[in-house]
Amino acid sequence: MGSDMYRQQILDHYKNPRNYGELDDATFSHVGENPSCGDTIRMDVRLEDDDETIEYVAFSGDGCAISQASASMLSSKLQGLTLDELAELDRDDVVDMLGVDISPMRIKCAVLAEKVAQDGAKIYREDLDIDATTTEE
């Protein structure tokens, strides 16, 4: 744990976020927050013509380094995946992606972006009806 969480990759993504911004032509957008940290994330997803494959993802938001770096990395990782593949991602995939051990107290920060993307896709497919995602159960 610890400084281990702040390896160069995390800090790099936090300081230089990839795919940061909002999309005018997003197929769907969704927002979420992690109340305990005050982290907020918005994910904008554009699908290809098959209405299934993720073409591009942009994110915006504000919060701790773990939440923002996770969103930055995820925005790249999701490109080319299908919505079904997105739905199958779990906590371990996020931790693997981050490449560091995440302490139990910080796991909500790490998984926020993933939950926002997954909930956004569910809402788009009309499997879920919420306004915003939260990491509080």
Partner: protein, 426 residues
């Protein structure tokens, strides 16, 4: 360093009373240079959240369970008598500690400060308040008071008003005088803010409340642990605090209430142990304070709370307060040296024993994680004062809070830890 001389406590001998302060924490065995994963001395600066527990308080709990564990107020047998006497006397010792001349009849043991707030909210607030009434709080209330009275307002229609917090973290007392009017039935205020460190003028607020025939409830969770509190000098109608912030165990706290008021209130919990006569139709209540302690209470916790009170009194509340003030001022001054650190609340020499701050560009949770690597325990988040953080325009802050066993060297470690975070994020 010669300034150390003016510190009134023998911290080295006090620290020996707290085994946990000897332990080491942090470090990641998989990271080069971080050692074996258990090699950083603990620097415990999260005392406003919970304090550490001295040996004699833990021993009081062990003694109870090893020597005289029995239910109170029920058995005639020897152990029950011993337990009952110890538990009852614990109320007297705690009453004496906060200057309640009515003794045990004015002190109800609760789980914590929150439950004490809920006791008054339910026994009195829900029964007595209506749409024509108002409840006055401060903008710096802890959720324990804020959420509780907010819900009473919603259920009874009573209006909830908030006394403004000024830029410097003090209360706008003119605003208080305006808000507390003939409709006001309850003024519930925090004595020492757990976020800003502000020491509020509770005696003055009590006068404003009493001029309007309103009650004043003082949330003393952050003051009773570290200063001499006299409920009668401040003329509090109710005052609450938690054992675990004052060297006691978790799950025990106390509500002080003026005897004449407590006598009029209904119990807020019902069940066994607090009743005198029960028929299939009705029940009558035990004397104070047992009327409010339905069910088997936290017996060992109450006894241990009294032991914590004795421990603190043996050291001396005035000396503990002075020690905390000196440390806090030192921490405030050291953190103030940096332009990228924003500190919230009053100046360093006018506050309770805590400093909340933010380091520019580093979220408080990141800062907390990085400090944790160095063994430094601080609080990060909203400290159960979300509306106050919204008012300050920040999602969270980092809080260092001090107690009788902390040292200037630990403050130095904090400042160095913050510096490390600054470099990491630069």
């Amino acid at each position: 360093m010669e300034t150390q001389e003016s510190y009134p406590l023998d911290v080295e001998s006090i620290r020996a009373d707290f085994p946990v302060l000897e332990r080491k924490v942090g470090g990641d065995p998989t990271v080069a240079g971080e050692g074996d994963g258990d090699d950083v001395p603990l620097v415990y600066l999260d005392n406003a959240a919970t304090s550490q527990t001295p040996k004699r308080v833990v021993e009081a709990i062990v003694d109870y369970y090893y020597e005289y564990n029995a239910n109170v107020h029920r058995g005639i047998h020897h152990l029950s008598q011993e337990a009952s006497v110890a538990y009852e006397e614990a109320h007297d010792r705690v009453a004496d500690f906060v200057g309640a001349s009515g003794g045990r009849e004015e002190v109800v043991f609760t789980n914590n400060t929150t439950e004490a707030e809920n006791l008054v909210a339910r026994s009195w607030g829900l029964n007595e308040l209506g749409p024509e009434d108002s409840i006055v709080l401060t903008e710096m209330e802890h959720h324990a008071s804020l959420v509780t009275w907010q819900q009473v307002g919603k259920k009874t229609g009573a209006e909830v008003r908030y006394i403004r917090t000024e830029e410097d973290g003090t209360l706008d007392m003119d605003h208080a005088a305006d808000l507390i009017d003939e409709t006001t039935e309850m003024v519930s205020v925090v004595h020492v803010s757990n976020t800003l460190g502000t020491v509020n003028p509770v005696a003055e607020l009590a006068d404003l409340a009493h001029e309007q025939d309103a009650y004043i409830f003082v949330d003393a969770a952050q003051s009773v642990p570290n200063r001499s509190v006299d409920v009668e000098a401040m003329d509090a109608d109710f005052l609450a605090f938690s054992g675990h912030k004052m060297c006691g165990p978790t799950g025990i706290g106390a509500l002080y209430g003026k005897r004449a008021i407590l006598e009029e209130l209904e119990p807020f919990n019902y069940g066994g142990g607090h009743v005198r006569k029960v028929t299939y139709e009705d029940a009558t209540w035990e004397d104070l304070p047992w009327k409010f302690e339905a069910g088997t209470p936290n017996i060992s916790g109450g006894i241990a709370l009294a032991e914590a009170v004795d421990y603190l009194e043996d050291i001396g509340m005035d000396r503990i307060q002075r020690h905390e003030e000196l440390l806090t001022e030192y921490a405030y001054d050291r953190l103030s040296e940096f332009d990228d650190i924003e500190i919230y609340g009053p100046p360093g020499d006018q506050r309770g024993g805590l400093v909340s701050f933010n380091l520019d560009g580093v979220h408080s949770h990141d800062l907390s994680s990085i400090l944790s690597d160095q063994g430094i325990a601080i609080r990060a988040g909203d400290h159960c004062t979300q509306p106050l953080h919204d008012k300050l325009g920040i999602p969270a802050s980092t809080r260092a809070s001090f107690y009788l066993y902390n040292t200037r060297e630990e403050v130095d470690a904090l400042v160095e830890g913050v510096d490390e975070a600054r470099e990491l994020f630069a």
